[in-house]
Amino acid sequence: MRREIRLSGYGGQGLILAGIILAEAAMHDGHEVVQSQSYGPEARGGASRAEVIISDEPIDYPKVTNPDVLLLMSDQACKRFAGSACQGGTVIVDSGLITSIPETSGVVYKFPITDIAVEATGRSISANVAALGVLNTVAKLVSPESLKNAVSSRVPRGTAEVNLAALRAGIAAAEAAGAER
């Protein structure tokens, strides 16, 4: 099975690192994986986008077109990509940052991701890892164990603890929401 994931927001949110962490976790789960990101005129400030494909067979075409899982962390990203989600796909939005959600064929899950991160760690910079916690709990892409390991190995030296806290907070928020629904 091939699953396409797109993480989008603005530069500085660390979404590319999030993509790498997710891909690395999937790799350690034994999946085939491709991670890529947008460069382009957006590179200088502005929008940011990371994509991951997780599959059980070798991945031939490595581009994401209609993501199964979509993370939206800015209004701009929302406007641009909400429509790209595949039918019934998982769309996760940072409800603390996003004011309105355009039409999408995916199922929308709202979490105040950045707020969750700030609450858990005091640092908005860990929102990317909190988002991973949310996303993986909702969409079940990789094993929680692998995700934890990947976070520890990929985040900057000395920030593992903070980030693991964010991850836990994200997971907890998603689980709580699941319980509620």
Partner: protein
């Protein structure tokens, strides 16, 4: 972190992987000038090379980088540079020098959309023909072209080995997409990697003829500073290495340069194919487009179409015989490429009219999707 077969499993960007593979291939010198989308190779090597006692230098431009690479290689150091279109254009004069003086080195070109500045962060496959013909005068060239990050690893090692074995500059063409994507790579241990080094003289310095080749056409190459004092020149030279204008010697040198690569052609031609046996439509592609081609023929097969594909991992020397054979067996060859039609010219030459040859070009900075190739396969 032990992975497949005890190998080190890593999630690497194509550019990172190229740098890692270079070090394992024995690269100990890098000179370059930053340019998107190749810069990560330099960045990683600036960190890694000194860790293994190698040298990294950022030169003032690409011309100087290519020159420094050749200079370092003369001392015996396995050397490389990495660039993209505009820098590749600038390196051409000195690539010709390396080819003509038979100095091993590896030149990576992570292609972007040209011409000129073009779209610096968008992919294109439009430097294929330049890789072959970019410098003035006759010169043979070897160019390899990976489509996945694991292939980047493999072909980077091969690029160094071929450079050393044949004393040639080897060009590694990469797509921006491949250079920047991360994939799983199982890094073998150093001991598992076959490493080739340039042939060394087996005669004392007095008897050394730096351009006298054995049957394989490759002359032994003594590193500078080891007692073999020889002369390197971009003028026509004879077996002694000194300039000559004698027509027979000029002729002999030029022909040897070509024949040493031709004789090794089989060894250095790498391809990969799928469903070739019974195909009546074959897609010929390279780099990232080969991945779409692979998917497209699978999709076509699902629709009952007898489609097959070949991925050319060696672009130069071009496998005319292989493609010619296919042309003789099939109805149609489709050549999808991210340029205005470059590979297709060689396919047409090889096909000699024996089958229809159809191109599919995409030149807007976006990769070709499998569905586009399927449509082309279906349209008869």
């Amino acid at each position: 972190m032990p992975g497949h077969n005890g190998r080190d499993l890593r999630l690497l960007q194509g550019n990172e992987c190229c740098a890692e593979a270079a070090i394992l291939a024995g690269c100990r010198f890098f000179a370059g000038y930053p340019i998107t989308p190749s810069t990560e190779i330099a960045e990683l090597l600036s960190e890694k090379l000194p860790q293994v006692g190698g040298k990294f230098i950022q030169m003032e431009d690409e011309i100087a980088s290519m020159a420094a690479v050749i200079g370092a290689s003369l001392t015996g150091a396995k050397s490389m540079t990495a660039t993209s279109g505009p820098g590749f254009s600038l390196k051409q004069e000195n690539i010709g020098f390396a080819s003509f003086t038979e100095v091993p080195c590896v030149i990576v070109n992570v292609q972007r959309t040209g011409p000129s500045t073009g779209l610096p962060t968008a992919p294109a496959q439009a430097d294929l023909m330049q890789a072959r013909w970019g410098t003035h005068g006759d010169h043979p060239i070897v160019a390899l072209y990976p489509s996945t990050v694991p292939e980047v690893f493999d072909l980077t090692i091969k690029a160094f080995n071929i450079a050393e074995q044949l004393r040639v500059p080897v060009i590694l063409l990469m797509d921006e997409v491949v250079g920047h994507m991360r994939e799983k790579v199982a890094i073998p241990h150093q001991s598992e990697i076959e490493i080739v080094s340039r042939p060394q003289p087996d005669v004392p310095p007095e008897e050394y003829l730096p351009y006298a080749a054995g049957p394989d056409g490759v002359p032994p190459m003594a590193p500078f500073g080891t007692g073999y004092r020889w002369h390197v020149t971009g003028l026509y030279h004879d077996e002694t290495g000194f300039p000559t204008t004698a027509a027979p010697k000029v002729d002999r040198l030029m022909k040897r340069l070509y024949s040493k690569i031709e004789s090794a052609a089989d060894e250095i031609t790498f391809t990969s194919d799928e469903f070739l046996d019974d195909a009546d439509t074959v897609v010929v592609a390279c780099g990232i487009t080969a991945r779409s081609a692979r998917r497209s023929v699978r999709l076509a097969r699902e629709k009952g179409i007898r489609a097959g594909m070949v991925q050319l991992k060696t672009i130069w020397p071009f496998p005319y015989d292989l493609v010619g054979d296919i042309a003789g067996r099939v109805d149609r060859i489709i050549v999808p490429e991210m340029n205005m039609g470059q590979l297709i010219g060689e396919v047409e030459r090889a096909a000699k009219g024996r089958c229809e040859v159809v191109g599919y070009s995409r030149v807007d900075g976006e990769p070709i999707a499998p569905a586009e190739i399927v449509a082309k396969i279906e349209e008869v």
